[in-house]
Assembly symmetry: C2
Homo-oligomer: 432 residues x 2
Amino acid sequence: MSTAAPRTPLADRSPAELASFVDEQRAAYAALTARGLSLDLTRGKPSPEQLDLAEALLHLPEGHLDRAGTDVRNYGGLQGLPELREMFADLLGVDPDQVVAGGNASLTMMHEVLVDHLLHGGLGSPRPWREEEKVTFICPVPGYDRHYTMLESYGIEMVTVPMREDGPDVEAVEALVKDDPSVKGMWIVPTYANPVGSVVTQEVAARLAAMPAAAPDFRLFWDNAYALHHLTEDEAKSADILSLASAAGNPHRPVVFASTSKITFAGAGVAFLAGSRETVQWYLSHLKFASIGPDKVNQLRHVQFFGSPDGVRQHMARHRAILAPKFAAVDAALTAELDGLGVAEWTRPRGGYFVSVDVPDGCASRVVQLAREAGIALTPAGASFPHGVDPRDRNIRLAPSFPSLAEVETAMAGVATCVALAAAEQLLADVG
Amino acid sequence: MSTAAPRTPLADRSPAELASFVDEQRAAYAALTARGLSLDLTRGKPSPEQLDLAEALLHLPEGHLDRAGTDVRNYGGLQGLPELREMFADLLGVDPDQVVAGGNASLTMMHEVLVDHLLHGGLGSPRPWREEEKVTFICPVPGYDRHYTMLESYGIEMVTVPMREDGPDVEAVEALVKDDPSVKGMWIVPTYANPVGSVVTQEVAARLAAMPAAAPDFRLFWDNAYALHHLTEDEAKSADILSLASAAGNPHRPVVFASTSKITFAGAGVAFLAGSRETVQWYLSHLKFASIGPDKVNQLRHVQFFGSPDGVRQHMARHRAILAPKFAAVDAALTAELDGLGVAEWTRPRGGYFVSVDVPDGCASRVVQLAREAGIALTPAGASFPHGVDPRDRNIRLAPSFPSLAEVETAMAGVATCVALAAAEQLLADVG
C-alpha cells in the first residue's frame, strides 16, 4: 500500500476532483504507452520455468514395458495404462476402473463425450441428442471460453447462472433442470474455477448430484482442470461428485475430466476421464471405433516421472512456488493503485490459473483497449461468457502464469492504470 | 518345393484318392494339434524387433524448441510442427500447407473427418450428412475391418466392389457414384492394400479422381497406411491423388491419411492428414473446438529421429529386412503344402502387412476353426468384409509381422495343413 490514509471512492468525489484524477491517470497512461511494452496476460499457459520442472520427462521412459510386461510401444490398451490410471484414480478419489487415461487433451475427451451424446445418445437417453428439437446447457458465468465455443459449434443453446464463491448458483440450476427436458448438460469447473477461482462446496456438489432433472440423461461435465493446482497451503479438496451422484441415485450424471496439461507439459501431457463404470464402458464402446489405444509410451513416461500420487503432489508444490508470487504481484498492483477507489473488485484465488476483475459496468472493453494500445495484451472482454458477450461489460480475466514475475509486475501496474483511467473517464462523462 | 512332379488337383482325384488324401491330412492335423501350439497371426502389428529399430525415440527430443524457437512443451500449433509436416509432405508428394500432423492415430483423424461430415457437412455439402435420408459408402472388398466397423457404428450403408490388382473395380465404382447422391464416400487403401496387397494404378486413380459423382461432396477416404512399407526393391509409387483430383476439377474429393504407426511405434507415432488447402482449413476449423494442439514433443522427437525424408526411407529399409523373410516364409509354406492342389490362391505382396488367401467357397470359417483348435489364431473369416460377412466364406487374412520368423514358419505349415484338410473334406463330402 502506497498510501496510509484510505482513499475517497471516485463516486464520492466532486467533478473538479474527478477531473484532476483523470488528468493524473492520463499522464500515467501516457508514461505507460511511452515505455513501448509488449506483454501478454491472455492465456492460462504454464511458463517455461514451470515446464522445466518436468524436463526429465524428455528422456523417459526407461525401457518400454509396463508393470504387466506389455510392450507400450505397440497397439492396444484402449482404457490406458493401468498403473497411471491407479495413480490418478488415487488423486481424483475414484477407483481405477472408473478412469480412462487418454491422449494429450481433456478438451478432446469432453468433445468426444459431447459428440457421442449427439450422435448416439448417452446412458438413459431416449434418443441421440441430435434428434432432440433443442439441447440446452447451463453455463455458470464467468467461465471457460472453450466450453462455450464447443457448444456453439453444434448450435447448442446456453443459459447462464452466476458463479459464486461456493460454486454455481445452485437454486437457479435446480429451477432450470427441474421441468425442462431440453436441459441436457451443464459445464462446471469445480475447483479453482476459470476465471473466478471459486470452489464448489460439498453442499453445492451434493445438490447438483441429487437435484431432480427432467432429462433422464442430464450430464454434469465436471471439468476438474485445476484439482491439484493449489496456490496456498489451504488446499481445497474437490467434492467427490461421483460418490455423491451414486448415493443420490444418479450415478451416470457426472463425467469428470482432468489432465496433466498444467502439471507436466501443456501440449504433451495425459488427459483423464472418470465416471461410473457404466459411463466408462459407454465411452469406450464408442471410442473403439476411432482409436486402437492412447500413447502408452507417454503414459509410462508419466508413471516413471511421478513414481506415486505423492510424487504428483510434490511436483505441484514446485509449481506453487513459481506461481504464488505472480498471483501476489497481481493483487499487490491492483491494491496499490485501486484500493478504496470503488472501481474494481478482484479475486484472490487459492488455486488455479486466473484472476477475475470486475470493473464498473460498461468499462471492461475500454480497459482491454487501453491496455492493448499500451502494449499489454489482455483476454478480450466478454471471453468468459457464452458467445463472447458479457452483458454488463464489466469482467476481465487475467492470466499471470506465463510471463515472468517482473513482467507481471510491470503489466499489472499498467492494467491498474487502465482501470483507473477508464472508470474515472466514464464517471466524469456521467457527471459532465 | 518338396515334390518334383506336379500334384494332381484335388478336384481331379477319384473318391478313393481323395479319401486317402483326407486320411493323410487328418494324421498331419492330429500331429499338429498334439504340439500344443499357441501362435497368433491375427493383427497387423509390428514385431518387437521392428519396434526396437526406433528405440532411440525413447530418449528424444534433445531440447524442447522447434526450428522457429517455439517451445514444443506448451499449448498451440493446431496444424502440427512445420518441420515434421515438411518431411512427410515430401514423402506424400504434397505441399506442407496441405498437411496436418496430429496425434497417435490416423484412425482418429478418419473418424474426425467422418463425424465432421455427419454433424457439419463438408466442402460442397448441401447439408450435414446426418440430415440426409441415407448415406452410402463404397467399400472395396476384401478390405480393412476398422473402416467398416466405423461406418457401421453410425448406421452408414456399405456397398461393396471387388478389389483387384490395379485397385478397386473402377467401372463398378463409376456406376455407383454416377446417379446416386446418397453415395457420399469411399474407402480405399491405395498402396499395398489391406489385405490383398494391391496398388491403385495411376490410371485407376485418375478415374477415381475424375469420375462424375451425383453427390457434390463425394469423398475418397484415401488411407495410405502402407505408402512406404515396401517388401521388395520394386517399390510402388502411390498415385498423386490430390493433384489428379485437382486437375480434374474435384480438388476436395480426396482426404489422404497416413501415419508412422508402422514406421516408429504403433501406439506412439504421429498421424497425418492431407488434402486441398481448403480441406485442411475445413478440418482445422472443426478441430479447434476439440484441441489446442497435438503432442508437439512427440512430433519433435520424430523430426530429430529421422532427420530427413531420406532418413524415413532408410528406416523403412530396415523394416523390410525384418519383414520380407516372414512374407517369404508364408509363401514357402503355402507353396510346399498346397501348390498344384487347386484349393487355394494367395497373394505375394510387394508391400504392406498382409497375405490374403482364397480357399474354396464355404471353407474359410472351417480353416479358421481348425487352426484355432490347433492353437493358431487367425483373423475371423469374414473380417475383411462389411458386417464381418464374406458372402462366399472363402477369404482368410494372414498377418505374419508380429510373430518371429520361426513362429511364422511353424504357424504357416499348420495353416496349410488346415486348408488342405478343410478343402479335401468338403470335396469328399460333395462326391460322397
